[in-house]
Symmetry: D2
Subunit: 258 residues, 4 copies
């Protein structure tokens, strides 16, 4: 599936998308973009709108965040993936992003599925953390039924009885969803892990199991991150992480997208 320009997903290439949970300021985005570029990562992620479980925590920079991310991405020649949180936000997010992300809590908010289904940009559909594999496939179908066939599914961990990791990455969902839907399936090891030191093992595991890509949270300084700092990879670990990922990807006969 073509994302943009000559960037493809779901073939033999594997794609990494990386960036901060929330866009915080220009220095942060520059530092991230520079590292991504130097490691050959093509797609920058970052959230401009961050409604949170509690109404009293940081809620994101909004449109200013989108503008900032677009500007920096263009400077470094990167693509962008970012989330639209509601139907009304779809046109705004559409304007700035290359891939529209649907978050885990919205996977069954059907009106937003229909709204992005009517656009012509690729959609990154995150699995609801308590949704079955069948429901993920149906959610992709809701998008496709409105015309947009470019849906990328993201396994990001499900809620189980065990709480040592934040969520339980459902490794089997990767081969099952690829086979059921024919769509590219990537993994988000950061939200599944919830702790920095679990991110790399989960990421390598997902790649070995056949994931077509990764969505990873990184941060220039995760001790002062405004959200999700405890699960972000620090920038200085990215080169080594990409090297390991590339080794695993080649071991199963694929390659990192260049």
């Amino acid at each position: 599936m073509r994302i943009k320009g000559n960037l493809e997903i779901g073939g033999s290439d594997v794609i990494v998308m990386a960036g901060p949970c929330a866009i915080e300021n220009k220095a942060q985005i520059h530092a991230v973009a520079k590292t991504l570029k130097s490691c050959g990562i093509k797609i920058m992620r970052g959230g401009a709108f961050k409604p949170r479980t509690s109404p009293y925590t940081f809620q994101g920079l909004g449109q200013a965040g989108l503008e900032l991310m677009r500007e920096v991405a263009d400077e470094y020649g990167l693509f962008i993936v970012t989330e639209a949180l509601s139907v009304e936000q779809v046109p705004l997010v559409y304007k700035y992003t290359d891939i529209i992300q649907i978050g885990t809590r919205n996977m069954q908010h059907f009106p937003i599925l229909w709204a992005v289904g009517e656009t012509d940009k690729p959609v990154l559909l995150k699995r609801g953390f308590m949704n079955t594999i069948d429901e993920v496939a149906y959610a992709a179908e809701h998008i496709k039924s409105r015309g947009n066939q470019r849906v990328i599914i993201c396994e990001r961990g499900i809620r189980t009885f065990d709480t040592k990791a934040r969520f339980t990455l459902d490794l089997s969902a990767i081969p099952i969803l690829k086979s059921m839907t024919g769509l590219p399936v990537i993994a988000d090891p950061s939200h599944a892990a919830g702790h920095t030191n679990l991110v790399i093992p989960l990421a390598l595991g997902a790649l070995a199991a056949g994931a077509d890509g990764l969505l990873v949270e990184v941060h220039p300084n995760n001790e002062i991150a405004l959200s999700d700092g405890q699960q972000s990879l620090p920038l200085e670990l990215i080169p080594e992480f990409i090297l390991k990922a590339e080794n695993v990807v080649m071991a199963i006969g694929r390659q990192m997208a260049k």
Copy 2:
């Protein structure tokens, strides 16, 4: 908490809300309303918009359904509770309903929580089937933070490993949420059960555990219901059901709302 007129919830009175999953036609709504009236039930439920897991099943009558339900409710002197599925639907649903329902799949769709938080009608907030008790309390807080203090929480079953019932009614959530939030908490035994013959045991259990009310699916003819027929109580069972409910309610020192 006052709902409308002199109807209160959350004190010593217990309130039943009943009706079909989806509004289908005039004959259906008349038959339901007539039975509710004769059994002393004050609030009719019914869905006008029914986005479903699959994009290919019945999706509801829309505005025509809202008009029909309002007309019949007024004829029989009943109040209405019905769901708004997205931010854009809030003004329309507001116009016809007495209580605005937020569905289980939208409990963490924050924009709709904010939207109903800015209205002056009571909100029936259904617990997400994947959400913790803390997250339910936070979702109520999202509504209240915008000004609307009249939130009724509904426990409707959570997703667990057991699949004999459709969901697992989390009985302990009733006393915990009442105590944590100070808000009225009702139970929906129909969605938890998934099968008609489990509805009454779960309903009585929830009342004995302290639920301030029930939300129950009923249908004139559940063999031909366009949705959720297998979990609806047939109308002819309602009088006996209300009698049993009233006995349990009195056994714990409360009474049915009159």
Copy 3:
């Protein structure tokens, strides 16, 4: 089903079994037995062997505990239910108890099911906290296949993603297992709750849903209990608890066993 003498379970009578998690000393058991007797409770529970998740916590009084419980029970005219933890313990527990309990962690330890299936005493089979309803029914079948038809099933909560209560009482398992197996089904609100203030709402809910009895942890002084103190009902609450339970039981047309 006849338990012993003229005590029956599974008909219109409802039976309460109560006692401490672990037998600790004579004063404790006397205080418990005296309260049970005065409230009309017929069956005393208590554990002599308490292997615990951690190898470093209190492990029970062993045979001395069984002897103590039998002596006190006989003095007050009570029956006993207590757990056998392994195949080798079955003959010893058999000698002292009236009902042999199989614990939640042993529900699929088939050799112990077969061992109690070869005795002639009633078996209280606790549902595994992560076992499906079908697996409970099969476990009962393992016992019955060896000849012993007197199996009482106990729903005691299942493990789910929510951790506010210790486990989630699966209310629907009560009517489903009664209907599937034809066996008496009781509920253990104490282990499901994990907190004293949730025990009574869960107990009343289980009775209203049709439970044939309750298994409840009580303690003369739960602040110094050697195990499970935080979920035991203090003795002074028992009379009021039994009164409430009796009201609910009568509301659904049954009565407490006398």
Copy 4:
């Protein structure tokens, strides 16, 4: 940790254990052993006692199965891992096996943990499908507290709400348990998967995430297997499977045990 002879686990070497769910007959075991030998696999698994959820399915060959497996293993120079189902079986299984397996349903049957804790053979402790990571670590501690320090932990999937795979392999348990306990941790992709076509992706994922080995079900003819046929790898796939596993293992800087 030394297993036997110069076979080590938990260092930089990765070990595969493979064999049928149940030992069925001499031809089957010979075919399996021959394939293992030719692929460099050092340890053969196989069950002699197979108590099953239902009392009415195949329950295993018993001691005759143990004798058969030992004889064939010696002929091919393989080591054996097989399960003891109860305390009484420990001496018998000890006599024939090199590694004693504790099954998922017995992980909290403490008497058997103590029994194998008093032997001098390595123990393969399978995680209970319902047990938290903390509980697994405590179960290992129960064994070690009786003297036996050679415990290998096996992640084999946990029970979650999703039923597309038989269980959900908890990938994060691998690095967490290695770090918490310092013990070797292997993975059983076969029981997690429940379907042959998921076994290889899960196996490779577990290795990339740092598993010290694999426990895999294989069968000469899985269409006629007496148990678990649908999740066994056919023998003809083993060479290719081992090649893929070796590639992934080398990609993360380890090697297959030789």
